[in-house]
Symmetry: C2
Subunit: 153 residues, 2 copies
Protein backbone atom coordinates (compact mmCIF):
# COMPACT_ATOMS: atom_id res chain seq x y z
CA UNK A 1 0.00 0.00 0.00
CA UNK A 2 1.29 3.36 -0.97
CA UNK A 3 0.60 6.19 1.42
CA UNK A 4 1.36 8.83 -1.13
CA UNK A 5 0.38 7.82 -4.56
CA UNK A 6 1.08 10.15 -7.40
CA UNK A 7 -2.13 12.04 -7.98
CA UNK A 8 -3.88 10.62 -10.95
CA UNK A 9 -5.95 12.90 -13.02
CA UNK A 10 -8.17 11.52 -15.71
CA UNK A 11 -8.52 13.10 -19.09
CA UNK A 12 -12.23 13.58 -18.64
CA UNK A 13 -11.92 15.83 -15.64
CA UNK A 14 -9.26 17.92 -17.33
CA UNK A 15 -11.54 18.46 -20.26
CA UNK A 16 -14.42 19.17 -17.92
CA UNK A 17 -12.39 21.84 -16.16
CA UNK A 18 -11.72 23.59 -19.43
CA UNK A 19 -15.30 23.31 -20.50
CA UNK A 20 -16.82 24.61 -17.31
CA UNK A 21 -14.46 27.56 -17.32
CA UNK A 22 -15.79 28.51 -20.72
CA UNK A 23 -12.84 27.42 -22.83
CA UNK A 24 -13.38 25.50 -25.98
CA UNK A 25 -13.00 21.80 -26.05
CA UNK A 26 -10.91 21.07 -29.07
CA UNK A 27 -9.23 18.03 -30.52
CA UNK A 28 -5.73 19.02 -29.51
CA UNK A 29 -6.87 19.79 -25.98
CA UNK A 30 -8.58 16.42 -25.66
CA UNK A 31 -5.50 14.59 -26.78
CA UNK A 32 -3.32 16.72 -24.58
CA UNK A 33 -5.54 15.89 -21.62
CA UNK A 34 -4.98 12.21 -22.21
CA UNK A 35 -1.28 12.72 -22.39
CA UNK A 36 -1.30 14.63 -19.13
CA UNK A 37 -3.49 11.99 -17.53
CA UNK A 38 -0.93 9.40 -18.48
CA UNK A 39 1.90 11.12 -16.65
CA UNK A 40 2.66 10.19 -13.10
CA UNK A 41 5.60 12.35 -12.30
CA UNK A 42 6.39 15.88 -13.27
CA UNK A 43 6.57 16.76 -16.91
CA UNK A 44 7.46 19.77 -18.98
CA UNK A 45 5.65 21.21 -21.95
CA UNK A 46 8.66 20.36 -24.01
CA UNK A 47 8.67 16.73 -22.96
CA UNK A 48 5.02 16.28 -23.80
CA UNK A 49 5.56 17.95 -27.14
CA UNK A 50 8.32 15.50 -27.96
CA UNK A 51 6.16 12.61 -26.87
CA UNK A 52 3.26 13.84 -28.96
CA UNK A 53 5.45 14.18 -31.99
CA UNK A 54 6.69 10.63 -31.64
CA UNK A 55 3.14 9.40 -31.40
CA UNK A 56 2.03 11.61 -34.23
CA UNK A 57 -0.76 13.12 -32.20
CA UNK A 58 -0.80 16.30 -34.20
CA UNK A 59 -0.48 18.76 -31.35
CA UNK A 60 1.94 21.57 -31.91
CA UNK A 61 4.64 22.59 -29.52
CA UNK A 62 3.08 25.97 -28.89
CA UNK A 63 -0.18 24.38 -27.92
CA UNK A 64 1.48 22.56 -25.07
CA UNK A 65 2.87 25.76 -23.66
CA UNK A 66 -0.41 27.56 -24.02
CA UNK A 67 -2.60 24.77 -22.74
CA UNK A 68 -0.47 23.86 -19.75
CA UNK A 69 -0.34 27.49 -18.76
CA UNK A 70 -4.08 27.52 -18.91
CA UNK A 71 -4.43 24.35 -16.90
CA UNK A 72 -2.16 25.81 -14.27
CA UNK A 73 -4.36 28.89 -14.06
CA UNK A 74 -7.37 26.68 -13.65
CA UNK A 75 -5.63 24.83 -10.87
CA UNK A 76 -5.73 21.50 -12.65
CA UNK A 77 -1.99 21.20 -12.60
CA UNK A 78 0.63 23.02 -10.62
CA UNK A 79 3.64 24.63 -12.10
CA UNK A 80 6.93 24.04 -10.37
CA UNK A 81 10.43 25.07 -11.31
CA UNK A 82 13.12 22.46 -11.43
CA UNK A 83 16.60 23.23 -10.16
CA UNK A 84 17.66 23.49 -13.79
CA UNK A 85 15.22 26.31 -14.31
CA UNK A 86 12.84 24.37 -16.50
CA UNK A 87 9.15 24.74 -15.89
CA UNK A 88 7.48 21.54 -14.99
CA UNK A 89 3.94 20.65 -14.14
CA UNK A 90 2.40 18.14 -11.82
CA UNK A 91 -1.18 17.08 -11.39
CA UNK A 92 -2.43 18.54 -8.20
CA UNK A 93 -5.07 18.40 -5.57
CA UNK A 94 -6.92 21.56 -4.67
CA UNK A 95 -5.61 22.21 -1.18
CA UNK A 96 -2.27 23.69 -0.27
CA UNK A 97 0.43 21.10 -0.33
CA UNK A 98 4.00 20.45 -1.26
CA UNK A 99 5.76 18.03 -3.48
CA UNK A 100 8.55 15.60 -3.18
CA UNK A 101 10.17 14.89 -6.51
CA UNK A 102 12.21 11.75 -7.02
CA UNK A 103 15.51 12.86 -8.38
CA UNK A 104 15.95 9.59 -10.20
CA UNK A 105 12.62 8.84 -11.86
CA UNK A 106 10.66 12.05 -11.47
CA UNK A 107 7.83 10.47 -9.55
CA UNK A 108 6.15 12.95 -7.27
CA UNK A 109 4.30 12.59 -4.03
CA UNK A 110 2.42 15.13 -2.06
CA UNK A 111 3.02 15.65 1.59
CA UNK A 112 1.07 17.15 4.41
CA UNK A 113 2.05 20.33 6.18
CA UNK A 114 3.82 18.75 9.15
CA UNK A 115 4.40 21.99 10.97
CA UNK A 116 5.68 23.88 7.98
CA UNK A 117 3.04 26.57 8.30
CA UNK A 118 4.19 27.43 11.80
CA UNK A 119 7.80 27.51 10.70
CA UNK A 120 6.94 29.88 7.90
CA UNK A 121 4.96 32.08 10.26
CA UNK A 122 7.93 32.23 12.60
CA UNK A 123 10.19 33.20 9.73
CA UNK A 124 7.81 35.95 8.75
CA UNK A 125 7.77 37.24 12.30
CA UNK A 126 11.53 37.24 12.62
CA UNK A 127 12.32 38.78 9.30
CA UNK A 128 9.68 41.45 9.23
CA UNK A 129 8.70 40.41 5.75
CA UNK A 130 5.06 40.00 4.89
CA UNK A 131 5.06 36.60 3.24
CA UNK A 132 2.96 36.35 0.13
CA UNK A 133 3.78 32.84 -0.88
CA UNK A 134 6.17 30.12 0.07
CA UNK A 135 7.37 27.32 -1.86
CA UNK A 136 8.96 24.14 -0.61
CA UNK A 137 10.36 21.51 -2.85
CA UNK A 138 11.91 18.31 -1.70
CA UNK A 139 14.15 16.22 -3.82
CA UNK A 140 15.05 12.69 -2.92
CA UNK A 141 14.69 9.05 -3.81
CA UNK A 142 11.31 7.38 -3.85
CA UNK A 143 10.89 3.90 -2.40
CA UNK A 144 11.37 2.19 -5.73
CA UNK A 145 14.50 4.02 -6.63
CA UNK A 146 16.00 3.53 -3.19
CA UNK A 147 15.69 -0.18 -3.78
CA UNK A 148 17.06 0.01 -7.28
CA UNK A 149 20.00 2.06 -6.19
CA UNK A 150 20.67 -0.43 -3.41
CA UNK A 151 20.50 -3.33 -5.88
CA UNK A 152 23.01 -1.74 -8.14
CA UNK A 153 25.55 -1.38 -5.37
Amino acid sequence: MLLYDPVMLDATSIVAALDSAGYRVTGPRRRLAELVAGQDGHFTASELATLAKARRLGISRATFFRALDLLAELGVVERIVLPSGEHAYVACARSHHHHIVCSRCGRTAEVADQGLAEAVAAMARDSGYRIQTHWLELFGLCRYCQRRVADEA
Copy 2:
Protein backbone atom coordinates in the same frame (compact mmCIF):
# COMPACT_ATOMS: atom_id res chain seq x y z
CA MET B 1 17.83 48.11 13.66
CA LEU B 2 17.42 45.38 11.12
CA LEU B 3 17.37 41.88 12.45
CA TYR B 4 18.03 40.35 9.07
CA ASP B 5 20.21 42.45 6.95
CA PRO B 6 21.07 41.32 3.50
CA VAL B 7 24.38 39.55 3.77
CA MET B 8 27.09 41.81 2.54
CA LEU B 9 30.08 40.28 0.97
CA ASP B 10 33.12 42.35 0.22
CA ALA B 11 35.10 42.03 -2.95
CA THR B 12 38.25 41.14 -1.08
CA SER B 13 36.83 38.04 0.49
CA ILE B 14 35.41 36.87 -2.80
CA VAL B 15 38.80 37.19 -4.40
CA ALA B 16 40.39 35.51 -1.41
CA ALA B 17 38.02 32.58 -1.77
CA LEU B 18 39.05 32.10 -5.37
CA ASP B 19 42.70 32.43 -4.57
CA SER B 20 42.74 30.02 -1.67
CA ALA B 21 40.92 27.44 -3.74
CA GLY B 22 43.70 27.60 -6.29
CA TYR B 23 41.89 29.56 -8.97
CA ARG B 24 43.60 32.41 -10.71
CA VAL B 25 42.98 35.93 -9.67
CA THR B 26 42.38 37.81 -12.87
CA GLY B 27 41.26 41.28 -13.78
CA PRO B 28 37.78 40.26 -14.86
CA ARG B 29 37.31 38.25 -11.68
CA ARG B 30 38.39 41.17 -9.51
CA ARG B 31 35.96 43.50 -11.17
CA LEU B 32 33.23 40.91 -11.06
CA ALA B 33 33.84 40.50 -7.35
CA GLU B 34 33.26 44.19 -6.82
CA LEU B 35 30.09 44.06 -8.79
CA VAL B 36 28.83 41.14 -6.74
CA ALA B 37 29.83 42.91 -3.54
CA GLY B 38 27.73 45.86 -4.58
CA GLN B 39 24.54 43.82 -4.92
CA ASP B 40 22.24 43.49 -1.99
CA GLY B 41 19.42 41.44 -3.38
CA HIS B 42 19.48 38.55 -5.74
CA PHE B 43 21.00 38.98 -9.15
CA THR B 44 21.39 36.95 -12.29
CA ALA B 45 24.46 36.50 -14.44
CA SER B 46 22.63 38.25 -17.17
CA GLU B 47 21.83 41.30 -15.07
CA LEU B 48 25.41 41.70 -14.00
CA ALA B 49 26.56 41.35 -17.58
CA THR B 50 24.25 44.13 -18.65
CA LEU B 51 25.45 46.29 -15.80
CA ALA B 52 29.07 45.63 -16.66
CA LYS B 53 28.47 46.51 -20.26
CA ALA B 54 26.90 49.83 -19.32
CA ARG B 55 29.86 50.61 -17.11
CA ARG B 56 32.29 49.41 -19.73
CA LEU B 57 34.01 47.08 -17.32
CA GLY B 58 35.21 44.78 -20.06
CA ILE B 59 33.90 41.53 -18.68
CA SER B 60 32.25 39.28 -21.18
CA ARG B 61 28.87 37.72 -20.72
CA ALA B 62 30.30 34.22 -20.66
CA THR B 63 32.63 35.13 -17.86
CA PHE B 64 29.71 35.98 -15.62
CA PHE B 65 28.15 32.62 -16.15
CA ARG B 66 31.39 30.80 -15.59
CA ALA B 67 32.52 32.82 -12.60
CA LEU B 68 29.21 32.80 -10.78
CA ASP B 69 29.00 29.08 -11.25
CA LEU B 70 32.40 28.81 -9.70
CA LEU B 71 31.51 31.07 -6.80
CA ALA B 72 28.45 28.96 -6.15
CA GLU B 73 30.60 25.85 -6.03
CA LEU B 74 32.89 27.54 -3.58
CA GLY B 75 29.91 28.44 -1.45
CA VAL B 76 30.49 32.17 -1.72
CA VAL B 77 27.10 32.71 -3.30
CA GLU B 78 24.08 30.51 -3.46
CA ARG B 79 22.20 29.74 -6.57
CA ILE B 80 18.44 29.95 -6.42
CA VAL B 81 15.86 29.60 -9.13
CA LEU B 82 13.27 32.30 -9.54
CA PRO B 83 9.68 31.40 -10.37
CA SER B 84 10.39 32.53 -13.91
CA GLY B 85 13.04 29.88 -14.23
CA GLU B 86 15.96 32.26 -14.30
CA HIS B 87 19.00 31.38 -12.27
CA ALA B 88 19.77 33.93 -9.63
CA TYR B 89 22.48 34.18 -7.04
CA VAL B 90 22.59 35.61 -3.56
CA ALA B 91 25.49 36.19 -1.24
CA CYS B 92 25.33 33.62 1.48
CA ALA B 93 26.53 32.63 4.86
CA ARG B 94 28.11 29.23 5.31
CA SER B 95 25.51 27.44 7.38
CA HIS B 96 22.30 25.96 6.09
CA HIS B 97 19.66 28.59 5.75
CA HIS B 98 16.81 29.79 3.61
CA HIS B 99 15.98 32.97 1.85
CA ILE B 100 13.15 35.37 1.73
CA VAL B 101 13.06 37.34 -1.46
CA CYS B 102 11.18 40.59 -1.65
CA SER B 103 8.88 40.29 -4.61
CA ARG B 104 8.96 44.03 -5.16
CA CYS B 105 12.61 45.07 -4.83
CA GLY B 106 14.49 41.79 -4.80
CA ARG B 107 16.07 42.36 -1.42
CA THR B 108 16.82 39.11 0.32
CA ALA B 109 17.06 38.16 3.94
CA GLU B 110 18.13 34.94 5.51
CA VAL B 111 16.09 33.19 8.10
CA ALA B 112 16.78 30.59 10.71
CA ASP B 113 15.41 27.09 10.60
CA GLN B 114 12.42 27.63 12.91
CA GLY B 115 11.41 24.03 13.01
CA LEU B 116 11.68 23.44 9.31
CA ALA B 117 14.12 20.58 9.73
CA GLU B 118 11.67 18.64 11.85
CA ALA B 119 8.90 19.27 9.35
CA VAL B 120 11.06 17.97 6.54
CA ALA B 121 12.01 14.93 8.56
CA ALA B 122 8.35 14.22 9.18
CA MET B 123 7.63 14.53 5.49
CA ALA B 124 10.40 12.10 4.71
CA ARG B 125 9.02 9.64 7.21
CA ASP B 126 5.49 9.85 5.86
CA SER B 127 6.33 9.68 2.23
CA GLY B 128 8.93 6.99 2.37
CA TYR B 129 11.22 9.09 0.24
CA ARG B 130 14.83 9.47 1.24
CA ILE B 131 15.29 13.19 1.09
CA GLN B 132 18.49 14.37 -0.51
CA THR B 133 17.89 18.06 -0.45
CA HIS B 134 15.14 20.46 0.27
CA TRP B 135 14.65 23.90 -0.83
CA LEU B 136 12.43 26.53 0.67
CA GLU B 137 11.89 29.90 -0.86
CA LEU B 138 9.72 32.58 0.58
CA PHE B 139 8.44 35.47 -1.42
CA GLY B 140 6.93 38.51 0.20
CA LEU B 141 7.32 42.18 0.89
CA CYS B 142 10.23 43.50 2.90
CA ARG B 143 9.67 46.19 5.53
CA TYR B 144 10.52 48.99 3.15
CA CYS B 145 8.24 47.84 0.41
CA GLN B 146 5.39 47.20 2.81
CA ARG B 147 5.57 50.82 3.76
CA ARG B 148 5.85 52.02 0.19
CA VAL B 149 2.92 49.94 -0.90
CA ALA B 150 0.91 51.32 2.00
CA ASP B 151 1.89 54.87 1.04
CA GLU B 152 0.72 54.39 -2.49
CA ALA B 153 -2.69 53.27 -1.39
